[in-house]
């Protein structure tokens, strides 16, 4: 495993600046997640590190060795894509063994068998090693694809939305598994996703991309609790954070330059009150909790409440914000 350093990298496609002046260090053994919406430049950055694209400016180095001009094969990276792309004519065993059988590697067959079995246990596919790759469920295929990446010990594992084609339950299971595998191997991982749940739950650190720029890097807690800007704050939280003018609701404390406050469920104090300033417009039942949609004047507010039917459409509530995030006119967060 290696430390990967991206140093002032820019990549253009025609007029579009996909990555703009990005600097990022992924320390050895870290699980780094790049989070951003479609078009933010996260996949481009991953492809630059893999060597599938060349930057227009800047350098990429692995353990202090500059690899900017090296082709992918010389970089010793392992990539998992969203689409599993297994070899359909090969068994699970042979798919897993494939990277080790490259002529240049000359790994003895007995060593191949040992490593395939080890990895197959890790991704829990060891009971299907002799199956043909096409006779697997979607989740199994993706586990094989991840296993095939893990069988090598590259400098870094690059993963581009590897779980997004799976169903919700399997995705939840594999999230925990993948994090475990990474920790067990001490692997360096750069993982690209637009799913905030994956980012929050798996990352050692998250990098947030906004239109080609890396706008904040930090632990999930840092990014969630102390986002640099409204843009970052808006990436995280279910339901999404509520942005309101500072004078829309009573706020316990806010710096004087505050123009917008960002309120998540944990910042919202809610009491039933006939003369309350907020009106319930919709209660969405989600089972373990309810989404409460409120209207405060012309503003909307969504928050979580425990289920149990205490709230109904048309009810009124008194709302107060306690310790919300505060932003200035430019959308930058102000320290409390």
């Amino acid at each position: 495993m290696a430390e990967v350093v991206v140093d002032r990298v820019t990549k253009r496609f025609g007029d579009v600046e996909a990555n703009r002046d990005i600097s990022l260090t992924v320390p050895n053994g870290e699980f780094m997640v790049l989070l951003g919406p479609t078009g933010a430049g996260k996949t481009t950055l991953l492809r630059l590190i893999a060597g599938l694209e060349r930057p227009d400016a800047g350098n990429i180095s692995f353990d202090e060795r500059i690899v900017t001009d090296d082709p992918p094969a010389q970089r010793n990276v392992s990539v998992v894509f969203q689409q599993y792309s297994l070899y359909p004519h090969l068994t699970v065993f042979d798919n897993l063994a494939f990277p080790l059988r490259a002529p240049a590697r000359r790994v003895p067959e007995i060593e191949i068998r040992r490593r395939v079995e080890e990895v197959a246990r890790l991704v829990r596919i060891d009971h299907k090693l002799t199956n043909s790759a096409v006779r697997l469920s979607g989740g199994e295929m993706q586990r094989v694809a991840i296993g095939r990446a893990l069988i090598r010990r590259p400098s870094i594992y690059l993963m581009d939305e590897p779980l997004s084609s799976l169903d919700a339950k399997l995705r939840a299971d594999l999230r925990v598994e993948l994090k475990h595998i990474q920790a067990d191997l001490g692997a360096t991982v750069l993982y690209v996703t637009h799913d905030q749940v994956e980012a929050l739950s798996m990352a050692s650190r998250i990098g947030i991309l906004e239109r080609g720029r890396l706008v904040q890097v930090g632990t999930p807690q840092e990014i969630y609790e102390r986002p640099a800007s409204m843009y970052v704050a808006g990436r995280l939280g279910i339901p999404p954070i509520n942005f309101l003018p500072v004078d829309a609701l009573p706020v316990d404390s806010a710096p004087s330059q505050t123009t917008i406050v960002g309120a998540r469920t944990e910042h919202i104090e809610l009491l039933p009150a006939i003369d309350g300033q907020a009106e319930v417009v919709l209660v969405e039942h989600l089972g373990g909790e309810d989404f409460l949609h409120l209207r405060v004047g012309e503003h909307k507010l969504v928050t979580l409440v425990p289920p149990g039917g205490h709230w109904h459409s048309g009810a009124r509530a008194r709302v107060r914000l306690c310790g919300p995030l505060c932003f200035d006119a430019a959308g930058k967060r102000l320290a409390a």
Partner: protein, 365 residues
């Protein structure tokens, strides 16, 4: 608007039974969701109501009238499918107006009704636009508009949000729900996404292997699932099942699981020693120093306000949903306490829930 009644409806494709002997009534103005994994028969059921498939047995009544063998076009039912299927050579206005044109509605009336629907869906500003440049969400709004403009007796929706990305899907969910609150059209909605079902349904029918396993309000199905596959299909993460073997007598208020005793709602039904499972929702577990069960933290998933903690116990793995301010570490030994009034016990052989006090006073529809 209309009531839809299915009587012993059945559909076979050759040897394969897609839907077996299902009877239920969809109430006038109701948002009714057919929920289940792929292949459970939910889409086939919807297509039979719409008249796109003929049942091999049973009857379908639309407002009391037998429509079982009527053509789709004679049933006065609107559709929205997962793939928006807009007419690419027409603009938004023409797409929405299309069903009315086919019915020979007059120009002025068409204009009025398209404008009304467009306002409802907040797409007035798009009416003159070509549909080819629209975003996924706007395309889906246009498709909805086309279904609503007819003012059909009922509206059938087959995974209409399936093609949208997660963030946007939630927004559309809220929008559809609010829209239904306003127009109260009888709606049958097919999905495999339990979040959508929970968020929008007045009632949910959970299907599995061609059978309707349970019908009820979202909260009822969530709190009082009658079968393991229902409980395990709903919730995020879904219900945990912890296996044990000791027998149970009716009236018991606790279960003995391999040396650990867990309090449960008083059982009205016993079970002989065999394969049983304790059903626990992730939010009904608290983690601390004392509790009814021991475990070891296997994984911690930070989710912002809340975290999901995976715990290995001697009865199997369990996920708990607890506030993130509680600091927990992988490998840590912990004790688990349960919200005993909310626990269920299942017979894992039949898959059914054992009756208990929890089920009394339930508002099953």
């Amino acid at each position: 608007m209309a009531e839809i009644e299915l009587q012993n409806i059945q559909k076979r494709f050759g040897d394969f039974t897609a839907v077996r002997e299902s009877s239920f009534t969809i109430r006038d103005g109701e948002f009714f969701v057919l929920l289940g994994p792929s292949g459970c028969g939910k889409t086939t059921t919807l297509r039979m109501i719409a008249g796109l498939e003929l049942p091999t047995g049973g009857r379908i009544l639309l407002d009391g009238e037998d429509v079982t063998y009527k053509r789709a076009s004679e049933r006065d039912i609107g559709f929205v499918f997962q793939l928006f299927a807009l007419y690419p050579h027409m603009n938004v206005h023409e797409n929405i107006a299309f069903p009315l044109r086919c019915q020979g509605v007059g120009r002025a009336e068409i204009k009025r009704r398209v404008a009304e629907v467009a306002e409802l869906l907040r797409i007035e500003h798009l009416l003159g636009r070509s549909v080819s440049g629209l975003s996924g969400g706007d395309s889906q709004r246009v498709a909805l508009g086309r279904a609503l403009v007819r003012r059909a007796k009922a509206c059938m929706m087959d995974e209409p949000l399936g093609a949208l990305d997660a963030e946007f899907r939630h927004l559309m969910c809220s929008e559809l729900h609010a829209l239904h609150d306003r127009i109260r059209a009888t709606t049958v909605y097919v999905t495999h996404d339990q979040t959508e079902a929970m968020a929008m349904a007045d009632r949910i029918a959970v299907m599995n292997h061609g059978v309707v396993a349970q019908i009820g309000s979202p909260q009822d199905i969530y709190d009082r699932p009658l079968a393991m596959h229902v409980a395990g299909f709903i919730g995020s993460p879904p219900m945990n099942f912890l296996r044990f073997t000791s027998g149970l007598a009716p009236g018991e208020q606790s279960v003995h699981m391999n040396g650990e005793t867990i309090r449960v709602p008083a059982l009205r039904q016993g079970a002989v020693e065999g394969e049983l499972a304790l059903g626990v929702r992730p939010e009904h577990v608290s983690i601390g120093d004392t509790g009814e069960m021991r475990g070891q933290v296997f994984g911690v998933e930070y989710m912002g306000t809340m975290q999901i903690v995976t715990i290995n116990t001697k009865h199997g793995q369990l996920k708990a949903r607890v506030p993130s301010r509680q600091r927990l570490h992988v490998g840590e030994a912990v004790a688990l306490a349960f919200d005993s009034e909310r626990l269920l016990v299942f017979d894992t052989v039949s898959g059914g829930a054992l009756q208990s006090r929890l089920f009394e006073g339930s508002a099953n529809g």
